[in-house]
């Protein structure tokens, strides 16, 4: 894959709070914010940083299942609700399950590369707490093949990744893998405690690893995962501007306030095919390899990674898919602390999906916003050090069970 034909940047990112259980302000009994409020907050959050709606050429909105969670379709029509100035501008809705946010980014990048836009407002969101978790599972099952739903688990996707975890335990040992999954949870929550918008920001549990070590119980949940292995049900929106060099000049921003997109890849696998090896995220592996090749860098040059840890086991498998650990060695790599915020390559520095939250259609954009914050020194208490020797970052957003993947490589401008 050839390098990008022109320079592309991201700037002005904004995350709403990830709302759901764990946040003090959340109560399922109280009236909750509608999707239009999330969209508006995130959109305005970006426009205020880039000089307003007049700067924007085009909008992309990513969302997975508003048609069922909120009984709302035609979502592109919500972009003009952000600002009067967005009326009568192009707006597109994209959907790729939990990778919808990633698709909103890749679509925006493509528009800039195609020179049909210099400033694209990309936004992703999901408002899921309109139904209880047992019904959320039904809706999210739409990310898989509908013909597998009948024989699937009540909690369909936890069931899918429970099967992956079970296969991983069998092949590489349960005890160490469970220990690494608990460590992943601990890292995630500790990072989230540093980020005021994170769903686990208020978490005060002292012994997180012990909490996460609870034995999975298939009678009440799934066979190989406990609830701490899973990302929660979240409401939230994230947005960011994707701009060309001309776009950067138009909004009058310094290049140091933006991150450069130096490579990306987007791959799709056949949704009707069951993975041949449940212990491997094959599509993720291929997409990351392509994105790094596109950027012309190696994984060793990455200063931080945002991976799609919808389940802790997915986090471990992502470590292997990116290439930081050989097949079956991610548990050792994680237990050794390499993915923690003080480790070799910090992963998910504001909590990731497990602890920042997973508003499905918004997650891909949230990952980009987190990386933009880290690479521009705007991450507040969650800030990690990014050195000139390793100025790159990677985000990997996944839809379905390793079916729709967007991987993006970012570079800090010193």
């Amino acid at each position: 894959m050839s390098k990008l034909r022109k320079k592309v940047y991201m700037i002005g990112g904004y995350n709403t709070i990830s709302i759901g259980t764990g946040r003090k302000e959340f109560s399922p009994k109280k009236p909750q914010r509608g999707l239009e409020e999330y969209i508006k907050e995130a959109g305005v959050g970006v426009l205020e940083q880039i000089g307003g709606a007049k700067m924007v050429d085009e909008c992309v909105i990513g969302n997975f299942m508003a048609a069922r969670f909120n009984k709302q379709g035609n979502l592109a029509g919500f972009m003009p609700t952000i600002d009067e100035g967005l009326r009568y501008k192009p707006s597109t809705r994209v959907e790729g399950a939990c990778c919808s946010g990633g698709l909103a980014l890749s679509s925006g990048i493509r528009s800039v590369l195609a020179e049909t836009a210099d400033v694209v407002l990309s936004l992703g969101f999901e408002v899921q707490n309109t139904v209880k978790a047992i019904y959320v599972a039904d809706i999210l099952a739409g990310a898989g093949w509908y013909k597998e739903r009948k024989n699937g688990h009540a909690y369909f996707f936890p069931g899918q990744f429970s099967n992956r975890a079970g296969a991983y335990y069998e092949k590489f040992g349960k005890e160490k893998t469970r220990k690494a999954m608990a460590k992943w949870f601990k890292n995630a929550v500790e990072n989230a405690r540093l980020c005021p918008t994170a769903q686990e920001y208020h978490n005060t549990v002292e012994d997180l690893e012990q909490l996460a070590s609870a034995e999975p119980n298939g009678k009440f949940f799934v066979d190989h995962l406990n609830v701490y292995d899973c990302s929660k049900v979240s409401d939230g929106a994230s947005a960011i501007a994707i701009v060309s060099e001309e776009g950067l000049k138009r909004i009058g921003a310094k290049v140091q306030d933006a991150v450069e997109i130096v490579g990306f890849a987007q791959l799709e696998d056949d949704i009707t095919i069951t993975p041949s090896d449940l212990t491997v995220l094959e599509t993720t592996k291929r997409t990351v390899a392509l994105a790094l090749e596109n950027a012309g860098i190696t994984k060793e040059q990455l200063g931080t990674v945002e991976c799609h840890d919808c389940f802790t086991i997915a986090g471990l498998m992502a470590v292997e898919a990116i290439g930081f650990a050989a097949h079956g060695e991610a548990p050792d790599y994680v237990i050794a602390g390499n993915t923690s915020r003080t480790g070799k390559t910090p992963f998910n520095t504001t909590g990731g999906l497990v602890a920042w939250g997973h508003p499905t259609g918004g997650t891909g954009v949230h990952q980009a916003v987190t990386i933009w914050e880290q690479l521009t020194g705007k991450a507040g208490d969650a800030q990690i050090e990014i050195t000139p020797e390793r100025p790159y970052a990677l985000s990997v957003n996944m839809g379905g069970d390793d079916k729709t993947i967007v991987a993006i490589v970012y570079k800090k401008n010193f």
Binding site: K132, A137, D138, A141, H153, A154, K219, F220
Partner: protein, 444 residues
């Protein structure tokens, strides 16, 4: 007749009441689960929900719909297996809706007792009125050719009295659920000398299937639960009278309620519990018990006076607490009824004075919620009571007296032949009243 066959036609009397609705829910679930077994697909299951109030029956259907949904959501893994053969049911939501439909399909809300004339099993959860219960059961038994079995939920009336007067010939036992039946694990099982063996076996199987903990009690008015609770109330009232020589009655009620909750580490104080059950219900149970227990005074002037002044307690239809001896705001106690002025005295007006009089709290005191989830509960309680034992404050003295009296009540229930063992008494207080420890203990 097998267990499954017996449950093919069931009636519940007083089905829309506080206890009846819970019993109906549990029985409906048991019956629908049986009906969904492949071997029962050709059988018809009928559950008559009989009550005199049409309005209450309408509310009952809504209650069932909501509660069955909650239960179905919890056991979705099982339901997906049960409905696996139905290809049109794919999502959890579809399966749960079908389960609710299948459950409600069994339930027949009616106001006519004639519906019970075809039942094989009759649950009686009518008002705690001996003559009413006897009249209803007698009428059904005269007209029902199936020689049905009867479960009565009475919490105080001896079973042999109902059996004899309704001429049921041993086809009845006491199956006393605790409130709310759907949540509380405890069931007191009361049999008489005449109770049929098969009926006892059925009752045990039914309780097991409902995952209830059975504690056998002998057929003596009040059984174990109310046998202890009513006497606990009487002691609390006598302590109020004793304290009232130095303090106002309102202050005395406050102090006894406080020490029974805080210093005895119970989920609520004794007068709050009276309000929860209902002052009227407590008074009624005492009257029933008094009628059968000679040589004992099971009567409280304080409760009688409260009732005369219209102070009843109990709960609103939404489950919130009504004002009773104590006044409540969003579940919190904010006042105490002053019988002299016939109005509530705000707690804030007497709290600090009374707390001062009760004295400092033991340093090892922990709230009930922490103690019940404490893995080292036994050690925690031992250390706490050791400290309490060494204190000579008014609060500590009251708590010690109360605790010793509570133990004596429990021991008397055994010596009077109501309970079979110390363990049974403790189990009732632990599971039926959610106490953190049984009354028969060696802490003091």
């Amino acid at each position: 007749m097998t267990y499954d066959e017996r449950l093919q036609n069931v009636s519940i009397l007083g089905a829309a009441g506080k206890m009846g609705s819970g019993i109906l829910l549990l029985t409906a679930i048991e019956m629908v689960d049986l009906s969904l077994k492949p071997e029962n697909k050709d059988n018809t299951y009928v559950l008559n929900a009989i009550d005199i109030s049409t309005k209450a029956l309408t509310g009952l259907v809504e209650y069932l719909r909501v509660q069955v949904r909650k239960l179905a959501e919890k056991k979705i893994n099982d339901l997906r297996k049960i409905y696996h053969h139905q290809n049109d049911l794919i999502e959890n939501g579809e399966i749960i809706d079908q389960y609710i439909f299948d459950t409600l399909k069994i339930v027949r809300p009616v106001t006519t007792i004639e519906s019970a004339y075809h039942s094989y099993l009759v649950f009686e959860a009518a008002s705690e009125d001996e003559s009413l219960k006897i009249k209803l059961l007698s009428q059904i038994d005269t007209n029902n050719p199936n020689k049905p079995w009867y479960f009565t939920n009475t919490s105080s009336i001896p079973i042999h009295v109902i059996d004899e007067r309704a001429k049921l010939d041993g086809r009845i036992l006491g199956f006393h659920f605790y409130n709310p039946p759907a949540i509380q694990k405890l069931v007191e099982l009361i049999i008489t000398e005449k109770t049929e063996k098969d009926l006892i076996e059925f009752a045990n199987n039914y309780a097991k299937s409902l995952r209830k903990i059975i504690v056998p009690a002998n057929d003596i008015a009040g059984f174990i639960g109310n046998g202890h609770f009513m006497r606990d109330i009487l002691f609390a009232v006598s302590e109020v009278e004793r304290l009232s020589t130095h303090y106002t009655k309102v202050e005395s009620i406050y102090m006894i309620n406080k020490i029974t909750q805080d210093l005895l580490i119970r989920p609520m104080g004794i007068f709050q519990l009276v309000d929860y059950v209902g002052v009227d219900v407590c008074q009624f149970i005492m009257k029933v018990m008094q009628g059968y227990l000679t040589g004992q005074v099971i009567q409280s002037d304080l409760l009688d006076e409260m009732m005369n002044l219209g102070v009843k307690g109990g709960q609103n239809s939404d489950g919130s607490q009504k004002n009773g001896i104590l006044q409540y705001e969003r579940g919190k106690i904010i006042g105490i009824f002053d019988m002299k002025n016939q109005e509530y005295t705000p707690i804030v007006e007497l709290q600090s004075k009374c707390d001062d009089k009760l004295g400092v709290l033991p340093t090892k005191l922990q709230p009930w919620k922490s103690v019940i989830s404490d893995k080292n509960k036994e050690l925690t309680l031992t250390e706490y009571f050791n400290e309490l034992n060494g204190m000579d404050t008014l609060g500590a003295d009251l708590a010690k007296n109360f605790s010793i009296n509570s133990k004596n009540i429990g021991l008397k229930l055994i010596s009077d032949g109501v309970a079979h063992s110390e363990d049974d008494v403790n189990k009732v207080l632990l599971t039926g009243f959610f106490h953190a420890y049984g009354p028969i203990n060696n802490y003091l």
